[in-house]
Amino acid sequence: MKNLFLTAVVFLAGFSMQAQEKSNKNAKYTIEVNGNCEMCQSRIQKAAYSVSGVKSATWSFETHELNLILNEEKATLLTVKTAIAKAGYDTDEVKSTVESYDNLPGCCQYERK
């Protein structure tokens, strides 16, 4: 029963159980990305999609979580985080430059940690 529950969670929220497997074509990750508004959603997702190998990217305004499915033969989580930082958004590993942050539209200028 617990297994089933876990699988469902994995399936939905996309915690990466298969992260250890080498070059997973459908690796799932959930990372936290700071953002404020609906406009951020489209900017964050667009930034993620700009990385070749990202198959699916959904950012939730409520949880600030970005769910990713990516082809690890083509992309790594780090390249995605770098692309998101370039768009002005901080992640745990890669922080955005002051310049990119300042380029964000007014409503998107979230409080930096």
Partner: protein, 670 residues
């Protein structure tokens, strides 16, 4: 507990994926919130009606469930069949694709009464798409698509009871039972019965205003869900038996059937449906799935209208295989697949045999691009081979663009093709002394050619926040251009109806302007103005389509009291429809009393309903339809001599019965 949650979550997720084929993803997710939803992000012009919307009116069956929605016009039921016909963009239901869980349901033999065979309480939600629609479900839709989702066994409550009674002596009873058999299997049993036992003649013309009726309708659904493996499956069994009797008050079918003692009619329909659906979502790839649907149904209508006999039996098999996936990433999605359809018709008009077999097979591909921001496009195409329609292509296009915040601009274009079932679709005309004439030009369906039309549409919606209250306004304009049409000509005189291929032009323009606003807390207003310009080159005259108002106005006012902690709540609803004058079929050559003017008068019809919710398990409602008591002056031409040459029950432009009051209750065990 955990297990249940996980299954529910998965199911929610699966249902999203199910819908990706219809690009209804966005609104499906939030279906619990508002009763009527219009999304800013959907590519097609689709409105979602949740089951809450259906509780706003008497709404006994699907045909009656659109009374509070301006996109669909509900016609007045005629004295003969008691069935309400619907129209979208000014075109009647044969030009719509009506599906039940994406399986074509109201088509062919069931065209006239099919929507009244789906009880309202079974419905979970309805999606109404204006314009061309998706290629996934077929090539037949021209002016729009209506898809109905029935209650899913896994989400169903253990017991539901609805009883309804009305002053036109109709009684309805709906009972739903549900059981969760295991963590994977759930089943629901829906039992519907309705009847009208007493005869009504409010206009004293000697004819029943509503048919005597009896319907038994039973649906048993099974749902299998395996969260771990990504499988969801449905199996449905359904049986329906419907009997209607109408005509003169003194008509006794045992004694007077097919005689000239009294004029009367009986329409008896028996239907069996079996359908299955298997959906598989690749566990590691939630964006990839396949779905396989199969449906078999047998529809058997035996009827007579005075001395006219009409029998039609249709046995159909439908199969659809869809594969959904992405190209590179979820900004580029596609659906592709195959479908197959087989229809065997045994059709007899008096002694003439029109029986035939139709087969078609097709392949489709639909590509969706969404830039995850302000633009999306759906490009679809299909190729079909049909034994009567030939081999043909069906292209469809939908584009969405958000020019600024809370605004959405949409464009659609597409082609539709279908064969007209002239008798089934126009069977109300059997209730007249009209002679059916077909101008045979060697076409493959009743000697006529298939109907082909292009539909183009443009729409704009702007949502806004004014004085801290939500509102929206918008307009849409659609044009349907017929390349060929089977013209139903009622302008050649009151003693005949002539069917022939279009020679010249035929089009339908429709414009709708909408304004909706929250006037005060919990008080909402919906308004719409609709303009229709529908013209056809008939054999001898270019004329607007009969029984279609050029101008219509719609208004709905809804008020709800604050929902108390113990679940108590009041709900009030008021709807008004104003219809401008309508062109009537030509009856000028009839003498005096049996001729009608060229145009009907304009009039309005008002409905209202009050619902009292006592708790989450019990509620009652009372309401009135046509409370202004507007009645058509003369509903039946030649009613004093029904076997004479001027008899006609088909010219119905307004309510016949007058005001009607009803009451009902709903009881739920959760």
């Amino acid at each position: 507990m955990k297990k249940q949650i996980s299954i529910l979550l998965l199911l929610l997720f699966c249902s999203i994926n199910f819908y990706s084929q219809d690009t209804l993803k966005e609104i499906k997710v939030q279906s619990a919130q508002k009763s009527l939803q219009k999304s800013l992000k959907l590519t097609a012009n689709t409105t979602l009606l949740s089951s809450k919307e259906l509780l706003k009116a008497a709404c006994c069956n699907l045909a009656e469930s659109f009374e509070t929605n301006p996109s669909i016009d509900v016609n007045f039921s005629d004295a003969l069949t008691g069935t309400k016909q619907i129209k979208m963009l000014g075109l009647t239901s044969p030009y719509l694709m009506i599906t039940e869980e994406n399986i074509p349901s109201v088509r062919g033999a069931s065209q006239a009464y099919g929507m009244s065979f789906i009880p309202g309480t079974w419905v979970e939600s309805i999606q109404i798409t204006k314009g061309a629609g998706s290629v996934v479900n077929g090539y037949e839709s021209i002016s729009g698509q209506i898809n109905t989702e029935l209650i899913k066994p896994i989400k169903d409550i253990p017991f539901f009871l609805n009883a309804y009674g009305s002053s036109d002596s109709r009684i309805e009873l709906n009972t739903h039972f549900n059981r969760k058999i295991s963590d994977k299997w759930a089943t629901s049993l829906f039992v519907h019965g309705n009847t009208r036992v007493s005869k009504n003649d409010m206009n004293n013309d000697g004819f029943l205003d509503n048919p005597l009726a009896k319907q038994v309708n039973v649906l048993n659904r099974w749902q299998y869900t395996n969260a771990k493996k990504g499988w969801v499956s449905f199996i449905n069994f359904r049986y329906m038996n419907d009997k209607k009797q109408s005509g003169e008050l003194n008509f006794n079918p045992n004694r007077d059937k097919l005689t000239t003692n009294y004029w009367g009619s009986e329409i008896n329909t028996e239907r069996i449906d079996i359908s299955t659906k298997i959906n598989y979502i690749f566990p590691n790839m939630p964006f990839q799935s396949f779905s396989f649907q199969n449906a078999f149904n047998s529809h058997n209508q035996e009827s007579y209208f005075g001395l006219n006999q009409y029998n039609i039996k249709q046995q159909s098999y439908y199969s659809n295989l869809i594969f959904n996936s992405i190209i590179d990433n979820t900004m580029h999605k596609f659906s592709s697949g195959l479908n197959f359809m087989h229809d065997k018709y045994n059709e007899f008009v008096n002694v003439t045999d029109y029986s035939r077999v139709d087969n078609s097979a097709g392949a489709f591909f639909e590509y969706t691009y969404d830039n995850v921001d302000d633009f999306s496009i759906i490009l679809g195409g299909r190729v079909d081979n049909h034994n009567r329609l030939g081999t043909f292509l069906t292209p469809r296009l939908h584009v969405r663009y958000n020019p600024w915040e809370k605004g959405v601009l949409r464009f659609s274009a597409g082609r539709g093709k279908r064969s007209a079932n002239i008798f089934a679709e126009n069977q109300q005309l059997f209730g007249s002394s009209r002679n059916f004439e077909i101008v045979n030009t060697g076409g493959k369906v009743y000697g006529l050619n298939p109907e082909i039309a292009w539909n183009y549409g443009l729409s704009f919606t702007q949502k806004f926040l004014l004085l801290n209250r939500n509102g929206d306004f918008g307009f849409d304009f659609y044009r349907t251009d017929f390349q060929n049409q089977v013209v139903v000509d009622l302008y050649q005189g009151p003693q005949q109806v002539v069917f022939y291929n279009l020679n010249g032009k035929s089009f339908a323009n429709s414009l709708q302007i909408e304004f909706n606003y929250e006037l005060a807390k919990q008080l909402n207003i919906r308004t719409a103005y609709k303009y229709y310009d529908i013209q056809t080159d008939y054999q001898y005259v270019t004329q607007e389509r009969p029984l279609q108002a050029k101008h219509r106005f719609f208004g709905n006012l809804e008020y709800q009291t604050h929902l108390l902690d113990d679940g108590k709540q009041w709900k009030f609803d008021f709807t008004i429809n104003w219809l401008g004058k309508q062109r009537l079929p030509a009856t000028i050559s009839n003498s005096g009393l049996d001729s009608m003017p060229d145009f009907s008068p304009s009039f309005s019809v008002m409905n209202m309903q009050v619902t009292r919710i006592f708790s989450s398990i019990f509620e009652i409602y009372v309401g009135g339809e046509n409370i202004g008591n507007y009645k058509q002056q003369k509903a039946i031409l030649g009613s004093d001599n029904p076997f004479g040459t001027t008899f006609d029950t088909s010219i119905v432009y307004a309510p016949i019965f007058g005001q009607m009051y009803y009451a009902g209750l709903r009881f739920k065990v959760k």
